[in-house]
Symmetry: C2
Subunit: 516 residues, 2 copies
Amino acid sequence: MEIENLAFLKHFFRFNRRVYLDHNATTPVSRRVQREMTRVLTSHYGNPSSLYGIARKSAEMVEKARRQVAGAVGADAAEIIFTSCATESNNAVVHAASAHFFPGRKKIITTPIEHPSVLNTLAHLQTRGVVVEVCPVDGRGRLRLDELERQIDADTFLVCCIVANNETGVIQDIRAVAEIAQRHGALVLADCVQAPGKIPVDLHGWGVDYAAFSAHKLYGPKGIGALYVKQGSPFEPLLHGGHQEGGLRAGTESLHNIVGFGAACQDVKTLLAHAPETRALRRRLIERLKQAKPDCVINSPEEAECLPNTLSVTFPGVENAELMAMLDFRGVAVSAGSACSTGDDAPSHVLQALGISAQAARQTIRFSLGRDNTAADIDYTVRVIRDTLAGRTPVVNMGPALVNESILFDEGTFILDVRPPDDRRRYKGLPNAHEVPGFSLTVEKYLKQIPRDKRILVVCPGGGLSVMVSYYLKAKGYPRVTNLRGGLDAWRARRGDLYQKYAGQNIQMLEPDEAG
Amino acid sequence: MEIENLAFLKHFFRFNRRVYLDHNATTPVSRRVQREMTRVLTSHYGNPSSLYGIARKSAEMVEKARRQVAGAVGADAAEIIFTSCATESNNAVVHAASAHFFPGRKKIITTPIEHPSVLNTLAHLQTRGVVVEVCPVDGRGRLRLDELERQIDADTFLVCCIVANNETGVIQDIRAVAEIAQRHGALVLADCVQAPGKIPVDLHGWGVDYAAFSAHKLYGPKGIGALYVKQGSPFEPLLHGGHQEGGLRAGTESLHNIVGFGAACQDVKTLLAHAPETRALRRRLIERLKQAKPDCVINSPEEAECLPNTLSVTFPGVENAELMAMLDFRGVAVSAGSACSTGDDAPSHVLQALGISAQAARQTIRFSLGRDNTAADIDYTVRVIRDTLAGRTPVVNMGPALVNESILFDEGTFILDVRPPDDRRRYKGLPNAHEVPGFSLTVEKYLKQIPRDKRILVVCPGGGLSVMVSYYLKAKGYPRVTNLRGGLDAWRARRGDLYQKYAGQNIQMLEPDEAG
């Protein structure tokens, strides 16, 4: 066998290896949960709100799941409301508390490292006059309790605190936060999405008033969340309609998802017992990364204050988009931060709150481990990073200033614009670009129309999506792939003259090679 | 074999026959949808918002489903937003339109026969100053277009119109409604939940601005809805958070549900082709019912104006709670109206809008057929109704005035209170009652604690739930079961003296026989 063939095989196996290190974004559905859900999908279709036999059975299954969820988080079943996701739970609490207290009391205090579903809802309520104050965190990401004491007053009706942060893994002293809030007559929303199965959750013991949960962070299904409302805390529904969930959340119950959530919660103890192994893998990852790049910076706090599975690392001088793309190219899934922030080109608000510069934030990767990861996964991941740092990357990056008329109108260049539709609506793209329709980032379906004999210039709004697509095309054998670094945003900023003159001219929309 | 045994067998087989005639409440998940969803649950867990390979695959699946849904309703894929249910879709539209126009323009016009997810959201917005006007329907349930012309003005920014009503099946001339609205510069929300697969849906042709859909009315999964926003119509998200759905609906996408919805939409043509058979069964049902009870009244309009599967019938002199309970006892699932209104003791707002009295509404049953129903199902259902009308019902009903001290404190009476928890919180129950915990209506788990040698008096808020449970207990062999007619509401009204003196005394909460 010739050497080329061996090299090909090596490449092939590399490319087919899969290491999933993004469990804070979502988790695979466990076998047991799959089984339970399939049972419901095939055999139980009664509407839990109806009255006849099969419907009563459905209602019973909802209540069983409610007890399972409550049991996993230290609550009573009557305090759990099923929602469509944690985003809905967080939205609902912020709206309900505001409806109850505002305008009599006006102030909400939040940490700067909440999930977008809290921060963006608060921003929305600010437009209606609610006063939002941000209580700072220290360099490790821990809420400054002294500052909270200083800021909280009789006008404060709600404190929002993410129990375990999704990006760095920092755990708050939620009990202390609740104690301070309670002393001042304010309620507490604890975003617990990342907590169950990673750290013990004890809502009654913590003394919080509201808490948000999501099944899909816990080896359960996507599209089902829970909301804890402590007995007696004020609440009103966000969704109006039928009488479901005791009149507190309208809409037909997603029976299979609710049953799946309940089943997932039954694994919480097993997951907690597994935490030391995960923590050991995390240590191994830190150690190997320090060897591969001694100046890398760990943004996550010390183990005692951190989720056992989460590690945020800055690689000075290395763009995270490029590193993620290379990892993806070789089968490793990691992220820059929250999946919900993807597409937002602003650097992570969480990292910036820790005092990390915008530049360093763009050089930061989040690893989040899961129960099926092994030491071999860690070692393989670090090997890929080591290769990337050593410059073994096959994609050319082009700075925005270099994209001039001779490139834009070059017959030998095929411009591929992979912006999602809403970005396309926002501003015009490069002239002569070929755009991919739909929200999809996948170019699999358009390969026949992307010529192999031209240089492919891939562009997107911020340069992150395009680099992933660039590596994908490289993997598909395209010999010359170039990525527009910084994306169209950077190009517009640097070459406003060309944007004014040419943008949006002669755009072609690609059609799928075959109807999907 | 002795006669008793034969009778027992006959009863047994009767009780195990299942006829589902409540497809407007929800439908079983089709095999094909089940398969597609199982494939996702077992193999595709990438978060569609992430950037790496498995996530891009997920994003692609979401976009494929979006095209499938759009294709089934005459829309472009870019106009479809996935939501958690049609209730969310309706809520989102009403809020978004109000946020855009109010307070510059103040008026929303609605039909009186909308789903609670529209009417209750409108009621909520009325508290903020939005003016809601109800445009009447005629005796068949059709919107009075002349009245709409009269009421609509430059201040009107939205018209809400349910394309096909869930309770009677009446279909509106939505094209005409949209034409009138458009002429006055108002937008139209078309609640299309009951339409796909029953009548052709052509959103672009109809000219509406917004439309709501739900998968679980269409042999798809519960917990996934869609929202159509016509290109260019104003919209802002109801849920704030991440950038999902082009920034229009935050929250991690319920991938398996979305794929299931898309798969269900592929059956729309087949379902439409099946409509004539369904219509024939509906005719058979009308015919047989008229034979069984000649004075029964059909509330649904003529075939040309009615969904092929829906039939609302009033049985003068017969309480629908009792008839439904008897049908349930013998395996037939029907409903009094919207499942979302269950637990609401008020008579149907839809029927009242048609000019039907509250009393007649309480004597009305909705039958809604599905693709698996047969002529034998229809005949069996009518046979059960005939038996019930002939007085062959095994449960005793007791009027509220008769529940006096001698019954309440009778050693030989076991009082079983099956109220859901939120009703328990609202007011006190009968003294010496045994209550069932949780939201559940199922008493299966408490049978060991319910004595067979006593008279069981079953009570609930309105007398509807209790009659179902009464029949269930009868089926389980309890010799003496009595239902409190009109429920605790009626008893409080009739015996306020006893309520003041004894209510809430000596309540016992039952525990499940074995832990669930």
